[in-house]
């Protein structure tokens, strides 16, 4: 029958472009129930605007925001995409070996005061008896600036998005802990997707078959990227990285973030994270709603 067009807002620097590229090269393309139109976007905020204004059907974002928006009446829903999240990185020869060593150091934080990783890192540190808020000199800034400041040695450690961390790692920097590690430290061991596809539920219900086919196809594409070198080679130009070490590191971190969607345990873990973040941010990140909004996660069936 007719193919349903799906317009996807793709951040130029993001990973969803890789998968869409893989889909594009897939020989099955012609027989699918959907077609994909990628819409380049400059940053995450542009995606949110594009989705709300109806310029795209899907973007990549996080579920806490989706829950918050649902609480205020928006009809958005989320499908898990990846567990890859930011990491705390220090120079290779840094004396910092653990969170406790951050005391008295300059810590660069991308994403601001309500950054999830920062909130959770503080909670973990507290558990270990360290008050990061008081003992660390915080430097907030845009991710590329934080990255640059670390390279220049103007800050001692950086809590930044995963691909900045991966690129640094390839250049000999050390990861102290990443988002997954922080969650584990806080007792949440189930893999919970950090980011995922976000779309309007009404729209998805109207095109259920196509949406689900698309989500399946993306999952396959992801697996291909990790298992088939030819597919991977196609996206290498999109990495904007010339050296093999960086390319490999990016692939490694990307592939380790693959999640299987759904599962009761995952949902429950998400509930716990939600409540944790709500408390840690004093409602500011999550909004007033006491619990994760029902329907936040889209289920494939």
């Amino acid at each position: 029958g007719d193919q349903v067009p799906i317009r996807i807002g793709v951040q130029v620097a993001g990973t969803s472009g890789w998968e869409l590229s893989a889909l594009e090269h897939d020989p099955q393309k012609a027989v699918r129930s959907f077609t994909v139109a990628a819409q380049p976007l400059a940053n995450a905020e542009a995606g949110k605007i594009a989705l709300q204004s109806g310029a795209v059907d899907m973007i990549v974002s996080d579920w806490i925001w989706v829950s918050r928006m649902r609480a205020s009446g928006a009809d958005l829903t989320f499908y898990p995409y990846s567990t890859t999240s930011g990491a705390l990185t220090v120079p290779g020869d840094s004396p910092i070996k653990s969170i406790a060593d951050l005391k008295g150091k300059r810590l660069g934080i991308a994403g601001g005061e309500l950054d999830k990783n920062w909130l959770l890192l503080k909670a973990l540190a507290k558990k270990e008896g360290v008050d990061l808020e008081a003992s660390v000199e915080k430097v907030f800034g845009a991710p590329p600036l934080i990255d640059q400041q670390l390279k220049l040695g103007r800050i001692d450690a950086a809590l930044n998005y995963w691909h900045f961390a991966a690129r640094l790692e390839a250049r000999g920097y050390r990861q102290i802990i990443d988002g997954k590690g922080i969650l584990q430290g806080l007792g949440i061991t189930e893999p919970v997707a950090n980011i995922g596809y976000v779309f309007k539920q009404g729209w998805a219900n109207a095109h259920k078959q196509a949406v689900n086919d698309f989500l399946h196809a993306v999952e396959n594409a992801k697996k291909q990227l990790c298992s088939e070198d030819q597919t991977w080679r196609n996206v290498i130009p999109m990495l904007k990285a010339n050296d093999h070490a960086t390319q490999d590191k990016l692939r490694q971190r990307y592939c380790s973030g693959i999640v299987q969607a759904g599962g009761k345990a995952g949902q429950q873990a998400a509930e716990r994270i939600y409540r944790l973040l709500r408390e840690l941010s004093g409602n500011r990140l999550t909004g007033e709603a006491a619990a994760l909004q029902p329907g936040t996660f889209w289920t494939l069936d």
Binding site: F140, G141, A142, R154, L285, G287
Partner: protein, 248 residues
């Protein structure tokens, strides 16, 4: 008629809010919260102390960078407007600095001078300065030569000439530089705070932007507008009035 005119400012504000309320009511969307909702958020942020803290941080930056940019810009603008040779030489630079994107100066300031307060203010000044220069330069070019000659002939001191002959003529230009300057600095400061500060209204706006919380964004915007209205009514309007009182 004159009686009624006194209430115009109040009436116009009422009209503004009425239109807003009407739109919000008819759209009924989280993307345009009603004035009352915004007021609620405003109030919560105010009593939590967040608003005062961040607004205060932004205002300190605004005042410092505005003062520097206006003083320096007026001096340079006056010099370029009066000295043809200086102008011929530096005109190119002016166009360059006027049109270097804010993003570029901000990034470079942060990268070269660190993510600190001084860089932030420097970045704002660099962005605002050329605008002041360009405006004051136009004013300086249009100065009345007859009056300047009079001042020279009567051996008025430089200071007196500046204060009593030149300044009043530049006044409309300075007022326009001030009004659009506050607005421009505000736009720049938001980017500056967004990219490299951990407080200030820009920082907050970015936060709420990430959350797409329009009500909070509007609450902070209104807080700033209120401050500027305060400056209007306590400083700029009286200045306007004083400077206009000699007109028939």
């Amino acid at each position: 008629m004159n009686r009624l005119q006194k209430f115009f400012p109040v009436l116009s504000l009422a009209a503004f809010f009425a239109i807003w309320q009407g739109l919000a009511f008819s759209l009924n969307s989280t993307l345009l919260p009603s004035p009352l909702m915004v007021l609620g958020v405003f109030w919560l942020e105010l009593i939590s102390g967040q608003l005062t803290y961040h607004l205060g941080a932004t205002l300190v930056r605004l005042i410092v960078s505005f003062t520097i940019a206006m003083l320096l810009g007026s001096a340079i603008g006056l010099a370029l407007g009066r000295l043809k040779k200086l102008d011929a030489f530096f005109d190119n630079w002016l166009v360059i600095f006027l049109n270097i994107p804010a993003l570029v100066t901000i990034i470079l300031c942060y990268v070269w001078f660190g993510l600190n307060e001084a860089s932030a203010i420097l970045a704002v000044v660099i962005n605002k300065l050329p605008n002041v220069v360009v405006t004051v330069r136009e004013g300086a070019r249009a100065l009345d030569q007859d009056l300047l000659d009079m001042a020279r002939c009567y051996r008025m001191s430089r200071l007196n000439t500046l204060q009593h002959v030149i300044w009043p003529q530049l006044h409309p230009f300075l007022m326009s530089a001030t009004r659009s300057g506050l607005a421009l600095i505000w736009k720049i400061i938001l980017i500056v705070e967004l990219l490299g500060r951990n407080n200030g209204v820009g920082f907050q706006l970015h936060l709420y932007f990430q959350l797409f919380d329009v009500a909070s964004i509007l609450a902070y915007s209104i807080a700033f507008v209120i401050v500027i209205q305060g400056i209007e009514y306590t400083i700029l309007k009286p200045l306007d009035k004083k400077s206009q009182r000699w007109r028939r």
